[in-house]
């Protein structure tokens, strides 16, 4: 048996859900670990310090996963270091590949985000209006630092070169297993590719009318999930529940659909699609019956951008180009 693959896993700005997905592989992970030597898995699993990583030799890690977006200077720094140390770098999960939930923050200014997080919410008690500062001198002698907030959310590939992408929030464990096995076996597509089946959620969704030999009909109603309980067998979009299944990579096996929840797009756009949100609009609007229904959709969801860019604002055509809206101006 060949040497074990030196493996690293870094959580950048995410929620550690992707780690959970990896752990969810259960015995398959155990099988994989036979081939893996974990050299770094911080900050969630193994107690390895950043200095340890910095001390490693360049390209000494065979395979590294990053989950989470780049939201602060620490994320940026560690990802850059990991890139230097790794032969193959995989952006893992919606945040690392698309920006994730946090990227919606890019539609707001930093000031707005900080006020919301540290001042304005109902449960916050901060009468002096203290905000985190990267540098702080405590008692006139202790020089404390915090990572600096970046101007925008970055996906991993916007900062460093990424070899492979895995989508999902989090990636479905079955598919993670397939990806890990493919990596272990060295059975990989060209660099820069997504490790994906390349098919939409509809392809694996039991509700797809096409799967039953039925034709899609135009949709005259628009519902949110709170508006009622959809028929569990019929296509959600056909029932007027806005489902992004057609637009989204379906490596999840249509998990949400299986529990009667419409797809919200965590799998990211299909390969070849330049902008997830715009494509969503195009596909969903095309299925609506008339202008009035499109208008209903606009009225029903109060923020179209956050609806369709729930996971992918950083990766689209606009990515970091647009300066954030200033709330004070509105």
């Amino acid at each position: 048996m060949a040497d074990k693959i030196k493996f690293a896993f870094l959580l950048a700005g995410g929620c550690a859900g992707c780690e959970m997905a990896l752990v969810d592989m259960a015995e398959k992970l155990v099988d994989a670990l036979e081939h893996l030597e974990v050299v770094f898995w911080a900050p969630t699993v193994a107690d390895v310090k950043y200095q340890d990583l910095e001390a490693m030799e360049d390209k000494s890690i065979d395979l590294a996963f990053v989950d989470g977006m780049i939201r602060n200077s620490e994320n940026a720094h560690t990802v850059k270091v990991l890139r230097a140390k790794s032969k193959t770098l995989v952006a893992f999960g919606a945040c690392a590949t698309l920006g994730g939930i946090a990227a919606m923050g890019d539609m707001h200014s930093k000031e707005e985000l900080f006020n919301e997080a540290f001042k304005d919410t109902f449960s916050t008690d901060n009468p002096e209006g203290v905000l985190p500062t990267p540098q702080y001198l405590l008692d006139g002698k202790y020089d404390l630092t915090l990572p600096a907030f970046t101007d925008r959310v970055y996906t991993v590939d916007q900062l460093v070169e990424v070899d492979y992408f895995v989508g999902g929030c989090p990636p479905h464990h079955d598919f993670v297993a397939a990806a890990v096995q493919a990596i272990v076996a060295g059975n990989l597509p060209p660099k820069g590719s997504w490790l994906t089946s390349g098919k939409a959620v509809c392809d694996v969704c039991k509700r797809n009318p096409a799967a039953k030999g039925q034709e899609r009909l135009e949709v005259g109603e628009v519902f949110r999930t709170v508006d009622g309980r959809p028929d569990p067998d019929k296509c959600l979009l056909q029932q007027g529940y806005i489902c992004f299944g057609p637009v989204t990579q379906g490596d999840c096996g249509a998990s949400c659909l299986n529990v009667n929840i419409p797809c919200r797009g965590c799998g990211g756009p299909m390969p070849g699609v330049k902008d997830y949100g715009a494509r969503c609009i195009s596909a969903i609007a095309s299925s609506l019956k008339d202008d009035a229904t499109a208008q209903k959709m606009v009225d029903k969801f109060n923020n179209m951008a956050k609806l369709v860019y729930r996971y992918s604002f950083s990766s689209g055509i606009l990515n970091q180009k647009l300066p954030p809206k200033e709330k004070s101006k509105a």
Binding site: M107, K274, D291, M297, M304, L322
Partner: protein, 138 residues
């Protein structure tokens, strides 16, 4: 002096593109701000195209299609209309002034109207200032 906005237009070849040609035949005058990309039908215009143009700094984007009922392909313009209702909201929510994007129905017989739209849109964009991506304000 007000700046000269750059407008990318997507024009259905059966109506708006023909209308723009007719504006030429009639020698209507309008500012050289608008440049058309010919498409078979306004329904061919992907929202991504508009987004791309804006992201690349176009100050305004126009889609020109046939009037309702006049679509050469029966109903392409209806699909466009539906998509763009939602798309307009999308760009607004994403931080663009929705006035930077226009959907106009201009027939092949409406040369004068094409010139008017170009003129009007240019004026409006001059008031809005340059695309925020190019340093203007949103």
């Amino acid at each position: 002096m007000s700046f000269s906005p750059n407008i990318v237009g997507f024009a259905c070849q059966w109506c708006t593109y023909a209308g723009a040609d007719l504006a030429g035949n009639l020698r209507c005058k309008y500012p050289p701000t608008i440049k058309l990309i010919r498409v078979p039908c306004s329904g061919r215009v992907e929202p991504e195209f508009v987004l791309e143009a804006l992201a690349r700094g176009a100050d305004g984007v126009l889609i020109g299609g046939c009037h309702f009922g006049d679509c050469h392909y029966k109903e392409g313009n209806y699909k466009t209309s539906r998509r763009m209702i939602m798309f307009k909201k999308l760009i607004e929510d994403a931080g663009f002034d929705p006035r930077r994007f226009r959907l106009e129905w201009i027939s092949g017989a409406e040369g004068k109207r094409f010139a008017e739209v170009a003129e009007e849109f240019t004026k409006e964009l001059q008031e809005l200032g340059p695309n925020p991506i190019k340093g203007g304000t949103a």
